[in-house]
């Protein structure tokens, strides 16, 4: 390795440390035996994890986030996959415009989206309703689903579909038996991305969740009111969840580096 390369690697090691530091620091804090935020922690204890598991509010919030996340993944796929097909294979005027609209939720700052949807939902009395949140989260997740699916579709060998048709498969059967199964890695990535987007989502939840909190909303309130190390325990679990999701995507999914462009 040249000297230049060595410096680069060393510099990157430092930067990576910077990136990972916050994630690492919550682990020891969550195991602290002190009754309040203290560093270094005087001893080890599971008390914060127990606090979390014993508190119905935390558990409720977690469960709610889980099923809202799952519902978002389902809805985002149901809408986003056909949309991706249209964008890649369709021939109609306004296709470029449709592409921009599909990406728009990423471009418009989330605070604006949140406030707008809040304004509308307040009128419709949908604040606090879990399905309202699912809809809003689906809007946010849709661009990611589209990005991943479009990348997957672009690489798809249409000769296989032709072969299927030549062998007697109708359009629908080709889709179900050949196209979608072969797109499964992209579908998995898209679903997990949509789930994580919803599960982590704070800003919209702040406005729309009302009294029925999602996990991020509860965390936000908690952080504002007191730095209780229970948050650290919750954070650790969240980090573990993300790690699991990443592993799942690595194992069963694809298309993330392709859609990073």
């Amino acid at each position: 390795m040249t000297a230049g390369r060595r410096t680069l690697v060393a510099a990157c090691a430092v930067i990576y440390f910077f990136l990972m530091l916050p994630l690492l620091v919550v682990f020891p804090i969550s195991l602290s035996s002190a009754p309040y935020m203290q560093f270094p922690p005087p001893g080890l204890s599971w008390q914060w994890y127990e606090r979390y598991l014993d508190d119905p509010q935390w558990i409720d919030a977690t469960v709610r986030s889980l099923y809202i996340g799952a519902a978002t993944a389902v809805l985002a796929l149901a809408l986003g996959v056909p949309l991706a097909f249209s964008l890649v294979r369709g021939r109609f005027i306004g296709r470029g415009l449709l592409d921009r609209i599909a990406m728009a939720p990423v471009i418009v700052p989330t605070i604006i989206l949140s406030v707008s949807v809040y304004g509308l939902f307040a009128k419709l009395k949908l604040v606090g309703a879990w399905y309202g949140l699912v809809i809003a989260h689906t809007v946010l997740a849709l661009p990611f689903v589209v990005l991943v699916m479009v990348a997957g579709l672009r690489d798809f060998d249409r000769g296989l579909e032709q072969a299927a048709e030549g062998l007697g498969a109708s359009r629908w059967r080709t889709l179900w038996r050949i196209t979608l199964p072969l797109l499964r890695p992209s579908l998995v990535s898209a679903a997990l991305l949509a789930f994580i987007t919803s599960f982590d989502e704070v800003v919209v939840a702040l406005f729309l969740a009302g009294a029925n909190m999602t996990l991020p909303k509860k965390m936000f309130d908690n952080i504002l009111m007191e730095i209780d190390p229970t948050i650290a325990a919750v954070s650790v679990m969240q980090i573990i969840l993300v790690t699991v999701v990443l592993v799942l995507i690595g194992r069963f999914g694809r298309g993330l580096s392709a859609s990073a462009r």
């Binding site: 919550v26 359009r171 936000f220 952080i223």
Partner: protein, 277 residues
């Protein structure tokens, strides 16, 4: 389903997009436009005058821009080496590199922000280490101020810079670098004269994304700023939640949105039409 015969000369393939389009129309375009419409209450632009005219609020816009530029600059400084390294190393290390970029990216911004509070507080990790080590006597004010916000934002947005840069470096033809080396260029020269210019698109893309995200940031300044760092998004939230001043919030939002779109439009103009999807 009807026959798939591809003689159909007219437009086709639109219908599958319809459900998504309806969702986006009803629950995205409509609410946003409706909300922005509030800003012209009574048919005049008073609220815009207030948003852009009053020194106080103008200052908020300026602050936000400055913070965004600062954050973008640092993300670029830290992100380029990372993106470069991941793109030019062996597949194994590249995967590892990716994982440690994606992990923070997908960790909830709340978790990351909270972690920074733990790290930067008066009794936080840094201060404790420095004080116990005898380096300083009094704790450094790293939290509930601009410093904390900047550190937090750079941390959250760094991955967004790394990914486009990775893409740009990856797309570079290794033969070009080899040719330069063969012609006697030093590593530094190669970096300045070859890599930098040819990855400009990636730098641009990453910078635009980070800048625009920073403009609209809410969580980090709200939690790490301690009320002292007023960015536009925080102001908007205040106007809606506390002051209940919807028209003003709408005007502020409109200005934020316009700035965001302007930045994107400018970026499109200047980016060379490279292989972007």
């Amino acid at each position: 389903m009807s026959s798939s015969f591809r003689t159909h000369k007219g437009p086709r393939g639109f219908w599958p997009a319809l459900p998504a389009l309806i969702l986006l129309g009803v629950f995205f375009l409509f609410p946003v436009l409706r909300m922005l419409g509030y800003s012209v209450e009574a048919g005049n632009l008073d609220w815009y005058a207030k948003a852009l005219g009053e020194g106080l609020y103008l200052q908020v816009f300026w602050n936000t821009f400055e913070i965004a530029i600062f954050v973008t600059f640092f993300c670029l400084l830290l992100g380029y080496p990372l993106g470069f390294l991941i793109a030019t190393t062996t597949p194994f290390w590249a995967t590892m590199g990716f994982i440690f970029v994606l992990l923070p990216l997908w960790t909830s911004v709340l978790v990351r922000t909270y972690a920074w509070m733990v790290l930067l507080g008066r009794n936080g990790v840094f201060n404790r280490l420095l004080m116990d080590g005898g380096v300083i006597a009094d704790p450094l004010p790293l939290l509930h101020n601009l410093t904390g916000v900047l550190i937090g934002m750079v941390h959250v947005l760094l991955p967004y810079m790394v990914l486009p840069i990775y893409g740009a470096v990856k797309r570079l033809d290794p033969a070009v670098v080899a040719a330069a080396e063969g012609l006697g260029a030093s590593s530094w020269r190669i970096f300045w004269r070859i890599y930098l210019p040819l990855t400009l698109n990636g730098i641009f893309a990453g910078s635009v994304i980070v800048f625009v995200l920073a403009l609209g940031f809410f969580i980090t300044p709200a939690l790490l700023g301690g009320g002292r760092v007023m960015m536009i998004a925080v102001l908007i939230e205040q106007q809606v939640r506390e002051t209940l001043n919807w028209p003003f919030a709408a005007a502020l939002s409109a200005v934020l949105l316009a700035s965001t779109l302007a930045v994107y439009a400018l970026a499109q103009r200047f980016m060379r039409p490279a292989a972007t999807s």
